[in-house]
Every structure is written in structure tokens, then in C-alpha cells.
């Protein structure tokens, strides 16, 4: 009769993983206090909207206020067949653009998935709870309309490829000096380690589902063979020259072996959202995040992740984008994101009182889309909104809506990045910097060391990021982005 690995382990034949692995390897890092980052009893979840989300139909002007935002919006976004215009009464009001005074609204998809109880109210409900901060007009100088380049520029926060900062993500640079190679401070839900978290030093985990994150021993093996194979596997992962692919694979293998044994158990945790109709895609991904957070909070051994990364795809809406049509692609994407985030925070509330105040979600996309629509779609664009969601966030509107008037477009027909004037843009590094400084507790100098200021001779000064501002505040009332 074959004995499964789990039954075997539960019999206690493998008294401790560390004993087999030898001293020094797992002796310290996994059990080190998870609060290595000063003040970090918090979590950061990065949600990447893959493909270039159309910001103009994410946060849209409802009226002109003291300017012409709605007028300009209607010039670019048409009605009739193939039109993308969102009617003023369809938008979900969230506040006023600080620059023009125009009333702003979320795309109607953000009210939740029609007919689905789970996550009802969607992002609108989170807004009403004061948990949604919208940072408008976020971009980088000298933007790229290539998905790959734009992604790399945003994820690295290094648009001009300054040498010392290449080869990693903005969060990866933050984590690399703080954690050892076999530590796992971060988790990517998905098959690979995502750009923001990439770096050479620490062992970021990647898995799609906790249930499947399991070391594949042969189910027919007896305990002695399992132990012998485990020891041989560990040995084969340890014997390689640092910096080589052998070493990288070996380190990943050790980290996967050790972590999976702890994380796998978390897949069994019952959560409210288990019963939700959003038991797929992004909703499911965020549920796995909630389970890991639950594990950390409960003190599960070897579970110490504070940084998470999830992705939602389908935003490259050159075609079939549609406006407010509930069957349209953009509506469905917004509905899924809003409802999934709502369920996620519902789960956090259920896991522990006050936990929702310790989790912030940063939502971004590699670029926005062209103001002037094509037939039922949009081409690649420039600045767009970034969301920060969570109980520790001061909800409201930060930054200015981009100027979508045709007279203000550049040669590509896109809105422009400026660090001066009424329509001043927000550099994404100011957003990251504010997160690092005020959510993750770094000093101003530490943040400056992570985010390179570039000086590019060919660009006018006001099209460059010369005056970092890691203390973003709401223009109305001077409220900071994060609660203290």
C-alpha cells in the first residue's frame, strides 16, 4: 500500500526539514522575523492591468467644470455604432478634478459584476468606504507606445536605462538588500516572477494555486525513498557556482521545496470568497493572496510574504472595447477588477479586525490609450490613472486629469507629460516613492537611492522628472495619500 507524502510527513518521520538540509541553509533565513523592513507589519499587493488600460474610459469627466474636459472627451469619444462615449449619467461620481473642477466618474463597470452578489458594488463600494485613491495623469517622460518597452520603463522605474538600476524592478531593488537568496518576501500569483519584483538576490515565489504548489515526490515511494530523494535533490541544488544558471535554478529549487511544504497547507483555508461566483481569474488570484496573508497573520512557519503581485490581462483594446455595454470587453474587465477587489477586502475583514487597514493594493497599467478612438477600440497612449486601494489609504482624487483637448495632443495624438503648468502630470516614480516612503516606511534618502532621477539632454526641462515628490497629497485639503 502506497503511502502519500503528506501522510508520511504527518507521521513525523521527517522530524525537521532543517535536519536534512544541513546547518546554515535554512537555519536562519526562513525563520527570521518577517518585519525586517522597518515598520513593516503591512502588505503591498501590486495589480498589473496587462495590455494598456484605457484611462479615459476608466476615470472620465462628467462635466466641464471650469474647463472643457467633457467637451474634449466627447470630441474624442464618439456615440453611435462603435462609439466608446460614456454618458454622464452612466458614470459613477467619485469627486472633482483639482485642476479643471470637472466632476469625475468611474466607468459603470466598476459597480460590480451585473447579477452577481459577490463583490457587489465593486470599486464604487470601496470608494464609498473611503478606500480608493485615484492618482490621475500618471506617466513617465519620453513615453513608449511599445507594450514591452513601456512595461519595462514602469516596472523598473528607470525609463532611460541608467546602468546601476537596470535588470530589476522597483520593488525588487527595495527587497534585494533586505533578504537572502533563499528567503521569500514576495509571491507572484502566476507562472513567473513579474517585472516589478525581479532582482537577482531574493527568492520571490511564483505559483498559480496554493493547492498545486507541492513538491512532486513519487506517490508510490516509501518514506525511506522519499527522504533519500529529498536529500539528493537538495544536494544537487546546492553545488553550483554563484551567479550561474545552475545556481539560479538550484536556489529556486530549494526555495520551492522548502516554501511549498508550508504554503501548500494554506490552500485549505476556508474563506468567505470560496463560495463566490468570482471563483476564477483575478478573484481567485486575490483569494490566494488573502490566504497567504492569513497564514502570515496566523504565524504559519516559513510563511513571511509581504509583497504580492497579481495580473489581469485583456486591456489591449484595439478593437471590441465598447463603451458602457455590459457585454463589452472593457466593461467586463472593470467589473471583474472592481468586484474582485471588493471580495478581497471582504475576505481581509473576515480574517481579522483591522487587517484591511494593513493591506494596500496598487493598480497600474503600462500605458493608457489614445484619446481619439478608432472603430470600437483605441490605440496605444500615454498617461493614465493609478489606483491605490485599502483601509490605510486616504480615499480621493490625487493629481490632474490629462488634457485631452485635440490642441494639446502630441504628434502621435496622445496627451503629454509635463512637470509644469495647470495640467501637470504625476510621474509614476512619485507614486512609487510615496508608497515606499509612507507605506513601507523608508526614509526620503532611501527612496532616492532606489529611484533614479534622469537628466536627458534632448528633453526640455519641464518634460523631465527633476523634482521628486515622495509625499503625494490630495490637492484639495492637503491630505496625504496614506494614513499615518
Amino acid at each position: 500500500m502506497a503511502i502519500t507524502r503528506r501522510r508520511f510527513l504527518s507521521r513525523g518521520a521527517l522530524a525537521s526539514a532543517g535536519a536534512l538540509l544541513g546547518p546554515g541553509l535554512f537555519g536562519h533565513p526562513f525563520v527570521r522575523d518577517a518585519l525586517a523592513t522597518p515598520g513593516l507589519d503591512r502588505y503591498l499587493v501590486v495589480l498589473f492591468l496587462d495590455g494598456g488600460n484605457d484611462g479615459l474610459n476608466t476615470v472620465s469627466p462628467i462635466d466641464d467644470g471650469g474647463g472643457s474636459l467633457r467637451f474634449d472627451y466627447e470630441r474624442a469619444r464618439l456615440t453611435g455604432p462603435g462609439g466608446l462615449r460614456l454618458a454622464p449619467d452612466a458614470l459613477l461620481p467619485i469627486g472633482v478634478d483639482p485642476n479643471t473642477g470637472a466632476a469625475l466618474g468611474l466607468h459603470p463597470g466598476f459597480a460590480g459584476v451585473p447579477g452577481v452578489a459577490a463583490g457587489a458594488g465593486g470599486l464604487q463600494a470601496l470608494h464609498q468606504a473611503g478606500r480608493l485613491a485615484v492618482v490621475q495623469g500618471v506617466g513617465l517622460p519620453s513615453y513608449s507606445l511599445s507594450h514591452a518597452e513601456a512595461f519595462s520603463m514602469w516596472a523598473s522605474a528607470n525609463p532611460f536605462g541608467i546602468g546601476a538600476y537596470t535588470g530589476g524592478g522597483w520593488l525588487g531593488r527595495h527587497l534585494a538588500p533586505l533578504y537572502g537568496a533563499t528567503e521569500a518576501p514576495g509571491v507572484c500569483i502566476g507562472g513567473s516572477v513579474a517585472g516589478e519584483l525581479q532582482q537577482p538576490a531574493t527568492g520571490i515565489l511564483a505559483f498559480e494555486r496554493l493547492d498545486d504548489f507541492d513538491f512532486p515526490y513519487d506517490p508510490a515511494d516509501d518514506p525511506a525513498d522519499v527522504a533519500a530523494k529529498r536529500a539528493a535533490f537538495v544536494a544537487s541544488c546546492q553545488q553550483h557556482v554563484t551567479g550561474t544558471l545552475y545556481d539560479a535554478i538550484g536556489t529556486t529549487g530549494l526555495s520551492a521545496l522548502q516554501s511549498s511544504e508550508s504554503y501548500h497547507q494554506l490552500g485549505r483555508t476556508p474563506l468567505h470568497s470560496v463560495y463566490s461566483e468570482l471563483d476564477r481569474g483575478l478573484g481567485y488570484d486575490l483569494r490566494e493572496v488573502a490566504r497567504v496573508i492569513q497564514g502570515v497573520e496566523a504565524g504559519a512557519p516559513n510563511v513571511a510574504a509581504r509583497y504580492f503581485r497579481v495580473r489581469n490581462g485583456g486591456y489591449d483594446t484595439h478593437s471590441d472595447q465598447r463603451g458602457a455595454d455590459p457585454d463589452g470587453q472593457h466593461f467586463s474587465l472593470h467589473a471583474e477588477v472592481g468586484a474582485s477587489l471588493k471580495v478581497f477586502f471582504d475576505d481581509l475583514e473576515e480574517i481579522g479586525a483591522g487587517l484591511a487597514d494593513k493591506v494596500a493594493v496598487l493598480v497600474w497599467s503600462e500605458f493608457s490609450r489614445r484619446p481619439m478612438q478608432n472603430d470600437n477600440g483605441t490605440d496605444h497612449g500615454s498617461q493614465g490613472p493609478v489606483f491605490l486601494v485599502g483601509g490605510g489609504v486616504n480615499g480621493g482624487i490625487y493629481g490632474n486629469h490629462p488634457n485631452v483637448a485635440e490642441s494639446a495632443w502630441d504628434d502621435s495624438g496622445n496627451t503629454v507629460y509635463r512637470q509644469s503648468g495647470a495640467f501637470r502630470s504625476t510621474d509614476v516614480r512619485d507614486v512609487y516613492g510615496t508608497v515606499l516612503r509612507h507605506w513601507l516606511g523608508l526614509s526620503n534618502a532611501q527612496v532616492q537611492s532606489l529611484l533614479p532621477v534622469d537628466s536627458v539632454a534632448s528633453l526640455p526641462v519641464d518634460e523631465q522628472w527633476q523634482s521628486p515628490n515622495f509625499d503625494l497629497v490630495r490637492p484639495v485639503g492637503g491630505v496625504p495619500l496614506f494614513k499615518t
Binding site: 511599445s146 527568492g203 490605440d379 496605444h380
Partner: protein, 487 residues
């Protein structure tokens, strides 16, 4: 050049593992007996006329499994490696195309042209219905141009965004070029499985104020001079999109070298040699290698991909990893899956093509978990290569796959039909198995000791129980080692 170097066993193995899926000792013997130099071996490897195989079936999984089955049994493995390369290069995903027929048709097109004329291939992909659907050419109409195809044609299929200089002023094209090329493609669509040109949807663009007429591109890049290059002199529609490709293939970078040739040679070096070619500095030995293979193959006049690949296979850089293990390349998931099943003489079973051992998972599931579902690339860029293939998730999926293929109860796995160690002595057994799996020279002494330690003591090779515990187990362990993930 390694052209006239004697074909050693190590070099033969290296040529085969990079141009096929896994290598058996018998295949190495065959190549050694048919060629005495590296050049002669390379000639043999590229000398094939692609077969017209088209993966059939009603559902996505059928087409996926059909292609996998063909990779397993084909006598032209390089044709399948190249088809895979082109599938990554001209990445097209079923989830958007939503037609197994069009995906299969494109797969056949890639195979038939896999070592042919690259310029003709790009002209063909312009008219490929799956591509017309995938990159929205069918939605690119006058007055509402859709730039998706025009951008990716330049960024991904031919020029790349930047030439090899790096830094400022290295752009190969501008947004204005994208708009002009998008205009040329207006009106193209497809009907059932054939491309069609719809004259009524072509060109007129209110912003430019003119109906039809020449389109000028590359005024500031490409070495065409301030007048740029133009197409559509010979008429719109049928010939115009061919002229676009002709112009692109005349594009020159800042050093006056052909931009398309350099970029494709670079990609093929990355594919066949390794990741160090992903970032090519100017000057560098990598850039020298790129220019040498272009020159030697006459690529900029004939655009013959087979000739270009042949020159890469005989280049010194191709063999660097034999002397420097740090220059190895991470095997693609498909390479691990097909290679492992080929080398272990295993076949997927049943309607769902499951791997007959361990958890009896379907091939499609195994490959998805390993991070590569063919016909479903993650984005227009295809897959990320090298270390991006490896994460905790995908590595455990590789381990699960090799576990299942050689599991204790794997159906049909007969290790002693593959290796015949002279005795059951642990050192002899480990030597035989690691040699058979092609990693013997890549293991550290401590790893070899660990594998011997797993066997514990002499293995009774006549005992079915011992063989299943120890020999099956050793195969799994070796295939789970870092060395097996590299080649």
C-alpha cells in the same frame, strides 16, 4: 569558425540537442558516422525540405496535442524547432483568433517556410488569416486606422524598436512611420481561410487630406536620407503591402548595416546559442558573430534562413558552452517535454494524451504548468526565454512532469532497455544514467555523490522491485537536477 573542426562526440551532442528535442546516444552515433567535421554535420542538419504537416482536430487541445505528437515522431526535428521559433516570433494566440482551423493553417505556413526566404515569409504573414485576426488588420479601415499590425510588423517581426547602438537616437522608426504603414494595410481582411482585400475600406485618411497615393516612411531613420522611402508607386492594395516589406528590408542602422538581418541573426543566436545575445553591445564579440554569419550566409541578398542557421551552427560562439558551463541555455518547456519523452521512449496515452505515470496528467496541463502552451503564447512578444522560464511554479511543474514520465509505476517505462550498466554498483549505475541523459559532464562531484548516496548500495538489476525503486528513482532525480534544465 568551427567549420572544419573534427566532429567530436561532445560537439555532435551539442549540435543535436540544440537542433532537436533531447538526444539519444544512438542519434549521436548516427551523426558521427555520417559526418567527420562540424561543417559537414551542420550541412546534414539543415538539409531537409519541410513537410506539409498541419495539426488537425476539432478543439484547441486536439491541435495542441497533434503538434506535440508530430514533434515526438518527426524525422525532421529542426523543422519543428524552427516552427516553434517562428511561432514565438510571429506570436499568435488561439484565445483571440478563436479558430483552430486558422491556427493550424498558420502552423503549416510557418513549417513550410521555416528555413526558406525570410522576406517572402513576412509577406506571407501579412496575408495570414490568423494574423489578420490576431493583430486587428481586419479592423483597420479607412478613417479609423488601427495601428496594431503596423507597429508589431516593425517592432517584433522585422526591425525591433531600437538598433544595436543603444542610448539616445537609436530608434528604428517613429510613430509617423507606424501611421503610414497602417494606412497601407487598410482594407485587408479574410474570408473563411483566405485573405481578401476590400477596396472600399482602403486608405483614405481625413487627417492627411488626400485619398490614397504614396506614403513616405523613415524620413529620420533607416538610412534613406531626408526624403525617406516611399511605397505604393505601383498601386495600392495587392502590391502595396509587399512594397512595405521590401522597404523595411532595405532599412539600415546607424552603422549602415541591414537592420532586419542583424535583428533576425541576433534572435537566432539567442535561440540556438543562449541568452548572452539578448543584450548585444557595440562593439562586442556577439555583434561580430552576428555580422559574420550574415556575411557568410549572404543573408542580405537571399534572405535564406536555412543558410543563416547553418552559419550559426558552425560558429565558434555556438560551442562556447562546451568549455564554459556558465554559458548554457535554459531548455524550453517544450524541449524538456518532447525531449524527455523521446529520450525515454515514452508516448502520451489516450484521448487526452496523458503522461502514463504519477498523477496521469494531460500533456496540455503539464505544459501549461511549465509555462508554455503552444498556440497560446502569453502576449504578442511570445514567451520570455532563459531564466524567465524558471520560477518556483514552473520548476516544480518540470519536476512533476519528469516524475510522471519515469515514476515508479510509469506504464511502459523500461530503463534497462535504455541503459545497460555493467553492474549494479552505484558508481557504474550513476555513470550510465547520467551519460544517457546527457548531463554527466555537467554535474559537480557532490551531485554525483548525492545520486550514488540515493542508491545506497549495489542495485540488484534482476529485481523488478529494485529497478523500480532505484533506477526509476535515479532517472527522476537526474532529470530534476539543475543540469537537466540546461543544454
Amino acid at each position: 569558425m568551427a567549420e572544419s573542426d573534427a566532429l567530436t562526440r561532445a560537439k555532435a551532442r551539442h549540435l543535436l540537442r540544440r537542433t532537436s528535442f533531447g538526444v539519444t546516444p544512438a542519434e549521436i552515433d548516427r551523426l558521427l558516422s555520417s559526418a567527420s567535421t562540424v561543417g559537414a554535420a551542420a550541412d546534414r542538419l539543415v538539409a531537409f525540405r519541410p513537410k506539409g504537416f498541419k495539426p488537425g482536430g476539432r478543439y484547441f487541445s486536439n491541435v495542441h496535442d497533434a503538434w506535440f505528437g508530430w514533434m515526438l515522431k518527426t524525422t525532421q526535428p529542426l523543422a519543428e524547432k524552427m516552427t516553434l521559433f517562428w511561432h514565438d516570433h510571429f506570436a499568435t494566440a488561439y484565445s483571440k483568433v478563436q479558430s483552430v482551423k486558422l491556427m493550424a493553417q498558420q502552423n503549416q505556413f510557418l513549417r513550410l517556410n521555416c528555413v526558406g526566404d525570410f522576406r517572402s515569409m513576412v509577406k506571407g504573414i501579412n496575408r495570414d488569416p490568423a494574423m489578420i485576426e490576431f493583430l486587428d488588420t481586419t479592423r483597420n479601415e479607412k478613417e479609423i486606422p488601427n495601428e496594431n499590425y503596423a507597429r508589431e510588423l516593425q517592432e517584433l517581426f522585422t526591425l525591433g524598436t531600437k538598433n544595436l547602438r543603444g542610448g539616445e537616437g537609436d530608434e528604428n522608426y517613429t510613430q509617423a512611420d507606424i501611421v503610414q504603414i497602417a494606412r497601407a494595410f487598410t482594407g485587408w481582411s479574410y474570408s473563411r481561410t483566405k485573405p481578401v482585400f476590400r477596396d472600399w475600406a482602403h486608405d483614405y485618411d481625413s487627417e492627411f487630406g488626400t485619398e490614397r497615393g504614396p506614403k513616405v516612411v523613415y524620413r529620420s531613420t533607416g538610412g534613406f536620407g531626408p526624403g525617406g522611402a516611399s511605397f505604393s508607386q505601383a498601386g495600392e492594395g495587392e502590391t502595396e503591402i509587399d512594397q512595405v516589406v521590401d522597404v523595411i528590408f532595405r532599412h539600415r542602422d546607424w552603422e549602415g548595416e541591414n537592420t532586419v538581418a542583424r535583428r533576425l541573426a541576433k534572435r537566432l543566436f539567442e535561440f540556438f546559442v543562449g541568452g548572452r545575445f539578448a543584450q548585444v553591445a557595440t562593439p562586442s564579440v556577439e555583434l561580430d558573430a552576428i555580422d559574420e554569419v550574415i556575411l557568410r550566409s549572404g543573408f542580405t541578398t537571399r534572405w535564406n534562413v536555412g543558410a543563416l542557421v547553418r552559419e550559426i551552427l558552425v560558429h565558434d560562439r555556438f560551442f562556447d558552452s562546451l568549455s564554459d558551463r556558465g554559458r548554457k541555455s535554459v531548455r524550453w518547456p517544450v524541449d524538456v517535454a518532447v525531449g524527455t519523452m523521446r529520450v525515454l521512449a515514452m508516448k502520451p496515452k489516450g484521448k487526452y494524451k496523458y503522461v502514463p505515470g504519477g498523477q496521469y496528467g494531460g500533456l496540455l496541463d503539464h505544459l501549461r504548468n511549465m509555462g508554455q502552451t503552444v498556440l497560446e503564447p502569453p502576449s504578442v512578444f511570445g514567451w520570455d526565454w532563459e531564466s524567465s522560464w524558471i520560477s518556483s511554479a514552473t520548476l516544480l511543474a518540470r519536476h512533476a512532469f519528469v516524475r510522471d514520465v519515469a515514476a515508479r509505476w510509469a506504464e511502459g517505462f523500461a530503463p534497462l532497455a535504455l541503459v545497460s550498466p555493467a553492474s549494479g554498483d552505484p558508481a557504474v549505475v550513476v555513470d550510465a544514467v547520467t551519460e544517457y541523459l546527457g548531463v554527466k559532464d555537467d554535474l559537480s562531484p557532490a551531485e554525483i555523490a548525492a545520486f550514488r548516496g540515493f542508491l545506497g548500495g549495489p542495485v540488484d538489476l534482476s529485481s523488478d522491485e529494485q529497478v523500480r525503486r532505484k533506477i526509476h528513482g535515479l532517472f527522476v532525480l537526474v532529470m530534476q537536477s539543475p543540469a537537466y534544465q540546461l543544454h
